[in-house]
Amino acid sequence: MRRRGRGIACMWYPIGFTVSANPSAATVKVNEDGTATLLTGTVETGQGSLTVLGQIAAEALGIATEDVHVVSADTDATPMDTGAIASRTTYVTGNAVKLAGERARAILFEAAAPMLGVKPEQLEARDRKIQVRGFPQRSVPIGEAARHALVGKGEPPIGTASFNPPTVAMDPETGQGKPFATYVYATQIAEVEVDDETGEVEVLRIVAAHDCGTPINPMLVEGQVEGGIAMGLGFALQEEILFDAAGRQINPNLTNYIMPTSLDMPEIEVDIVPSYDPTGPFGAKGVGEPTSVPTAAAIANAIYDAVGVRMTALPMTAERVLAAIKAKRAADAPRLAAD
C-alpha cells in the first residue's frame, strides 16, 4: 500500500570561505556610447553568475543589463578571483563589481557635473542618464558623459576594486569567532509516497523557501533551487559509490550509479524569502550550495511521517526502507501480542 507523508527541514549556510581570505577583484570600463565592459576572473560553471555580475555592474552604472558585456576567466586579462566556490560569487565578486562600477561612475559624475552646472555629489545614474538628484529633467545621456570624460577631459571612465569578506579568526580551543560575513536560511517541505510492500519512495512535491538576500535575478535563483533539489534527491534516495573488499569502486558508471533524471523530479515550488543584507551588493547574499542542503532531511522526515520508520543512513533506497519497515513490524508485533 502506498502511504503518503510530509516532512520539513530548515537550514543555515554561510557565504564565502571559513575565516581565510577569499578576495575578488573586478574592473568596469565604460565605453564611449555608455555601454560597459566588465572584467572578472570568475568562471561561468552553468549557474548564470556572469549574468548576475553584469546586472550588478549595470545597476551601479544606471544602465541596462543588456549594456554590459562580461569578459571572464582569463588569468592574462581578468583580475584575480577566488573562483566559483563556497556560494561566494554573487556576494564577494558582486561586491567587487559594484565597487568597481561605482568608481567608474565617479569619473562620469566628475565629467557630467560641469555639463549640468552642479557638484558631482548631487548626481545619480539612472535609465542610461546622469541626472541631478531630485531634478531628473536635468540630465545628460551617460554616453555623452563617458565621451566627455574620455576625449574631453582625457580621463577614461574605468574603475577597479576588490572585496574580501570581513571575518574574525576562530579560537583553536573553543571555535569562538566570526568565521563568515553572512549566512542564508531556507526551509524545504517534501511530500512523499512510500510503498510499504516494496519500500519504494516517490517524492511527489517539494516546496522550497530560500533566502538569498536581494535576488539579483529571480529566474536564476529558481534555477539554482531546482538544480539543488535534484542533487539533494539523488543524495537522499539513490546515489552511492560502492567499493569491493580491495577498495576499488564497483559502480563507476551511469548504469550502476543511479542518479535522478527529469522523470524522477517532483513538482517543485520555489519561494524567495524577502530579505536584505546591508553588507551584500544591493542587499544580495547567495544561493548556490544551500539549495541541496535540506532536501534529504525533509524526505527522511516525510518517510517517517508516511510509514513510521526513522531512516538513519543515506541513501534511503527501497531495500533499506523495506528492511526498516519489516524491522518495525517485527518490533511492534510482540508488543501487540503482549497487549
Binding site: 541596462a64 543589463t65 543588456e66 588569468t75 573562483g83 566556490i85 533566502d211 538513519t312
Partner: protein, 463 residues
C-alpha cells in the same frame, strides 16, 4: 625493428579507426545564422537592472549548440592524453616500464611522476601527487600518462605500460583508520589529519540537567558530483616557453598558481583560460591533470588535450565525504533545546583536498539554525585508502542537516509537538548568537519556515 618505417600521423589515425565502430567521427555542425541586430528580450533593456529576470547572454549559444566546451576545441597538431590508473588501493611502486607504449605508432610522449618538477598539490595540505611516483594510496591514483595522435591509441598505449607493485596493507574504514595500529596512508603521519572543536557554555552539565536527552547516529554515503562535462583541459606552449592551459577549472587564479608551482615556472609564464564549464558543483576547484598535459605537451612539442572518462570522474576526481555523526541533544519539556553535543568523523579518502574546509563548515553548522546555549562539536577528518573526498556543493552541510533535522523530528514526535512548531520555537532570531559566538544579522529562518508552511498548506487539515 629494422623493417619499421616511420608511421605518419594520417596512417596512425586510419589504423586506429579501422574496424572500430565506436571510433568518434568529426562532428558536423549545421551552419548557424548570426544576427546582425541584437536579439534581446525587452526585459533586459530595463533599469533598474537588479531584480530583473534577465535572460542569460549565453542562453542563445547553449540553445543553438554553439557554446564551446573543451571537447569542441582543437588546436593544430593537438594530441590526446590518457592517464593510467593504479587499480590497486595501497602499494609501493617498484618499477614502471613504458617502453612498449613508447614504441607504439602514434604515441608521441609518455610521462611518469618522477618527471614532474614539484609532484604535489592540494588546497590546504599539499599531500597529493600529480602522478603517484613512489606510493599508491587509492585505486584511482594516476601512475603514468600518454599523449598520442588519437584517444584510441592513447588508451591502448596506457594498457601497455607495465607497473610492478608491492602491495601494502590498506585501510578502508575511518574508525579502523583512527586506531594507533592501523595501516598508515601517509606514513609516518597518523591517519587523523584534521581536527576541530567548537565549545560554548557547559554542555555536559546542561545535558545532565535536561528533562530529556535524545541520542542517535546518522551516516551518509560517498557520492560523485557527476557534471555533464567531465574534467577537461588543453595545454599548449609557445616558442617563448609560455604555457596556455584551457581548463574546466572553477578557480583559475588558484589553478594558475598550482600549475606554475608543480611545473616550477614563474606565474607570469602561465595563462589559464577558463572555458564555459558544463557543471562544477565543487569537483573542479583544484587542478587535476593540467600539469600532466603541460609536460606531455612539452615532451611532444604539440598541444595536448585530456578529457576524463566517466569512470575517471568517479574514481579519479573528488567525491562527497561520507559522514558518521553522533548527536546528543538535551531538551526541556517545552521542546526548547538546552544543549547539543556532536561528534563527526569524516572519511576523507586518500588525500586531504578540501577536507579542512568541509570539516570546518560542518562543525560550525552542525547544531542547526537554532538558539542553543550549550554546544560542543568535535570533528575529525581521517585518511583511508579510498577515493578522495573534497569540495562538493554544501561542504558538509547536507550531511549534518540530515542528522540535526532528523533528530529534530524525533524530539517533536516524542514530545508530541508539531515539527513546524518545534522549529519555530528554537530557530534563530535576528541578532541571535551562533555556536561560534557570532551575532547573526539578516536572519530569516523563521520567515522561511512560515513561508514554506503557508505555500505547502502545512497547517491545513490533513485529508
Amino acid at each position: 625493428m629494422s623493417d619499421r618505417r616511420p608511421v605518419t600521423e594520417q596512417e596512425a589515425l586510419r589504423e586506429s579507426l579501422r574496424g572500430l565502430e565506436t571510433a568518434r567521427l568529426p562532428a558536423t555542425v549545421p551552419p548557424a545564422q548570426f544576427p546582425i541586430e541584437t536579439l534581446v528580450p525587452e526585459v533586459r533593456q530595463q533599469t533598474p537592472a537588479v531584480g530583473q529576470r534577465a535572460t542569460r547572454p549565453d542562453a542563445r549559444l547553449h540553445g543553438l549548440g554553439q557554446t564551446k566546451y573543451i571537447d569542441d576545441l582543437a588546436l593544430p597538431g593537438m594530441l590526446h592524453a590518457r592517464i593510467k590508473r593504479a587499480g590497486i588501493a595501497a602499494a609501493r611502486i617498484a618499477r614502471i616500464d613504458t617502453r612498449a607504449a613508447e614504441a607504439m605508432p602514434g604515441v608521441m610522449a609518455v610521462l611518469t611522476g618522477r618527471e614532474i618538477p614539484a609532484n604535489s598539490f592540494g588546497p590546504s595540505l599539499q599531500d597529493q601527487p600529480v602522478l603517484a611516483d613512489e606510493r599508491v594510496r587509492h585505486a584511482g591514483d594516476g601512475v603514468a600518462a600518454v599523449a598520442a595522435v588519437t584517444e584510441e591509441i592513447a588508451a591502448q598505449a596506457v594498457e601497455r605500460i607495465v607497473v610492478e607493485y608491492e602491495p601494502l596493507p590498506a585501510v578502508f574504514d575511518p574508525f579502523e583508520a583512527m586506531r594507533e595500529d592501523a595501516p598508515r596512508v601517509h606514513p609516518p603521519a597518523g591517519n587523523v589529519y584534521a581536527h576541530k572543536i567548537i565549545r560554548k557554555g557547559d554542555v555536559e552539565r546542561a545535558l545532565a540537567e535536561a528533562d530529556r536527552v535524545f541520542e542517535g547516529r546518522w551516516t551518509t554515503q560517498m557520492v560523485e558530483h557527476v557534471p555533464i562535462e567531465p574534467h577537461a583541459a588543453i595545454a599548449a606552449w609557445d616558442a617563448n616557453g609560455r604555457l596556455t592551459v584551457y581548463s574546466t577549472l572553477g578557480r583559475i587564479t588558484l589553478g594558475r598558481a598550482d600549475i606554475a608551482r608543480t611545473l616550477a615556472l614563474p606565474v607570469n609564464r602561465v595563462q589559464v583560460v577558463g572555458t564555459i564549464v558544463g557543471g562544477n558543483f565543487g569537483g573542479k576547484n583544484e587542478i587535476s591533470q593540467e600539469p600532466v598535459l603541460a609536460l606531455l605537451a612539452k615532451k611532444a612539442g604539440r598541444p595536448v588535450k585530456g578529457v576524463f572518462t566517466r569512470g575517471e570522474e568517479f574514481y579519479a576526481s573528488t567525491t562527497r565525504h561520507p559522514f558518521f555523526m553522533d548527536y546528543s541533544t538535551g531538551v526541556g519539556r517545552d521542546g526548547r533545546i538546552r544543549a547539543r553535543k556532536v561528534r563527526l568523523v569524516l572519511d576523507g579518502g586518500a588525500y586531504c583536498s578540501w577536507s579542512e574546509t568541509t570539516l570546518g563548515k560542518a562543525c560550525i553548522l552542525a547544531t542547526g539554525p537554532y538558539k542553543i546555549e550549550h554546544v560542543q562539536v568535535e570533528a575529525f577528518a581521517v585518511y583511508t585508502n579510498k577515493t578522495v573526498a573534497g569540495a562538493m556543493r554544501g561542504f558538509g552541510a547536507p550531511q549534518v542537516c540530515f542528522a540535526y533535522e532528523s533528530q529534530m523530528d524525533e524530539i517533536a514526535a516524542a514530545l508530541a509537538i508539531d515539527p513546524l512548531e518545534i522549529r519555530l520555537a528554537n530557530a534563530f532570531d535576528e541578532g541571535a548568537a551562533s555556536p561560534t559566538g557570532q551575532t547573526l544579522e539578516s536572519v530569516v529562518v523563521k520567515a522561511s519556515l512560515e513561508q514554506a508552511a503557508a505555500r505547502f498548506g502545512w497547517r491545513e487539515p490533513r485529508s
